[in-house]
Symmetry: C2
Subunit: 331 residues, 2 copies
């Protein structure tokens, strides 16, 4: 990297976006810019907002556009990495169906663009400069509204034949008896261990008349949706309904990890996402226990590390920059 | 491969073994020798029988020991590929625990030895010269007494950190409600779609008083265990109890394939084993249907080929020879 090693990584979310200038030799964030996504404006206007966030992050880093080697964008939905086209983005609306994000953003910015999905770039971030630093084979699982993942093998993102690898949320772990998933099938891991799954369990318990402080906490916070923060607060306060829902989700997440480990046998599994960040090891320990109990090869079971993601909100931006540096420099 | 390209591949099973001289440039079987394993004799005597089968296969190929570059052995249990030590072989008895097969057989034969587990070498065989020829990324699943698998990525066997990759039989697909598996846990794929699982379902139906021709077929065959052949005969005869058990197993095998595809996104899934060989496409079609229904990415779902293994009993021997040629020539 004789020309320098600055790439901008963009983490595009349903409600907000982060653009950050990353030194891909060190993972250091040189400057950044965050803003609301404002998905209601449509794909083209949101892309304009992405371009503005990128420019601002470069200014904030004290750099000029010509110091930047390329841009990586993590998108919350399936994409085609070769054409830079977004297949669809359920969270962002129908204007993203087959949207040519790569070429449009590249024209706006005048720099080469690489796009991939948000969990793929998150996995690359944790691998390159986070919990997986120094490892070569790992699976990263991010638990939030949904459950997604990325696989690193031999130090490279395993994208799969259709760029669809790592869809851990749609591995079936409770055939027929599990809840119906957003994908329409029954028994997917996402329907059992996502934050959405916890929320469904908590609301069902409350609807059946079980006492809970959740309604009180939501009123206090002035919101209707159950955030990771609210779930964590109720859990810490000993709310029985919340503890039961979290325990179930932990158990199923453990089974999901065991299925992944029994298939791929990686060095480590890295877990990220809002609930885990809020609750930390209190959340992780029961997950580890359920997973290790279901490892077929229990030799060195403890050696298959189940780790917390450490980059938080930056895993996506850092990973997008790193992946851009790999793909744009080799093309 | 200037020195020639003849390796002997050995497929060691619980009841019989096959040694075959393979031209690893073409996959051609140049000569072979089969015999009973006679596990009751213990690991050392069985190893002596392996050595004799190897020598006989070389003679049958019209070759001499010095024409052979190395030996590969597929073992029905976990092994350490670096030391050549068998961890254990439940089917073969306790004398195989930590048995130094690699070094002992190498001393008997005077040739370098590579060992790996039977499904890993079977996957390599189907990849190199079977249903997966020309592909680079696939998962092979073998359904028999148990359910095992092997993963090929970028044209190489993915062994995993502890050589434990591919244990598809112990991916959890029916948490808590599935039958208890041989591994002690509940809901593993192996407990739901192996031949053993079909047999359990059939016997339970008969015990509950449902009419079936199975008992008659077993009497006719003069055996007590339900072979793939007997299951196939009863299925073909329209035996309702058998059709139900097979349909269940097909469905769960489809879910297992979907979980693997959603995680790894390979080019193809190859299915092998006795039941499939006996029943062919009548068995495979419902499996394909259940799998494709549960693919998250249904774009090109039909493009993720679900194929029949084509090497039959030879996948292990051919794969063991191919893997030996890769590992012994690079060391």
């Amino acid at each position: 990297m004789d020309k320098g090693a600055f790439y901008v990584g963009v983490d595009l979310g349903g409600t907000s976006m982060t653009a950050a200038v990353i030194d891909v030799r060190t993972g250091r964030v040189m400057g950044e810019s965050k803003r609301k996504t404002r998905a209601e404006l449509g794909a083209l206007s949101v892309t304009d907002r992405i371009a503005k966030a990128i420019s601002k992050s470069i200014t904030n880093a004290g750099l000029k556009r010509q110091d930047i080697l390329g841009i990586g964008v993590g998108v919350p939905g399936p994409i085609d990495p070769l054409t830079g086209i977004v297949v669809r983005c359920a969270n962002l609306g129908a204007s993203w169906d087959q949207f040519e994000l790569g070429s449009i953003l590249s024209e706006m910015i005048g720099l080469p663009i690489m796009i991939d999905n948000d969990v793929h770039v998150g996995a690359v971030g944790e691998f390159a400069f986070g919990a997986g630093k120094g490892l070569s084979d790992l699976i990263a699982i991010f638990v939030g509204t949904g459950v997604g993942g990325g696989i690193i093998l031999n130090g490279k993102l395993h994208t799969g034949t259709r760029n669809s690898a790592g869809e851990v949320g749609h591995m079936i772990i409770a055939a027929d008896v599990g809840p119906v998933c957003g994908c329409g099938e029954r028994g997917c891991a996402e329907a059992l261990c996502s934050r959405t799954a916890m929320e469904r369990e908590i609301r069902a318990s409350i609807a059946s008349g079980q006492p809970s402080i959740i309604s009180h906490l939501l009123e206090e916070a002035g919101r209707s949706d159950l955030s990771a923060g609210t779930i964590g607060d109720a859990y810490d306060a000993g709310d029985a309904v919340t503890i039961k829902a979290v325990s179930q989700a932990q158990y199923y997440l453990g089974l999901l990890i065991a299925s992944c480990v029994n298939l791929i046998d990686p060095q480590a599994v890295i877990l990220g996402g809002g609930v885990l960040e809020r609750m930390g090891d209190a959340y992780l320990d029961p997950v580890r226990q359920a997973a290790q109990q279901h490892f077929l090869n229990k030799t060195d079971a403890a050696g298959i590390a189940i780790l917390r993601a450490v980059l938080g909100d930056y895993s996506g931006a850092i990973g997008a920059a790193v992946l851009a540096s790999e793909r744009l420099s080799s093309s």
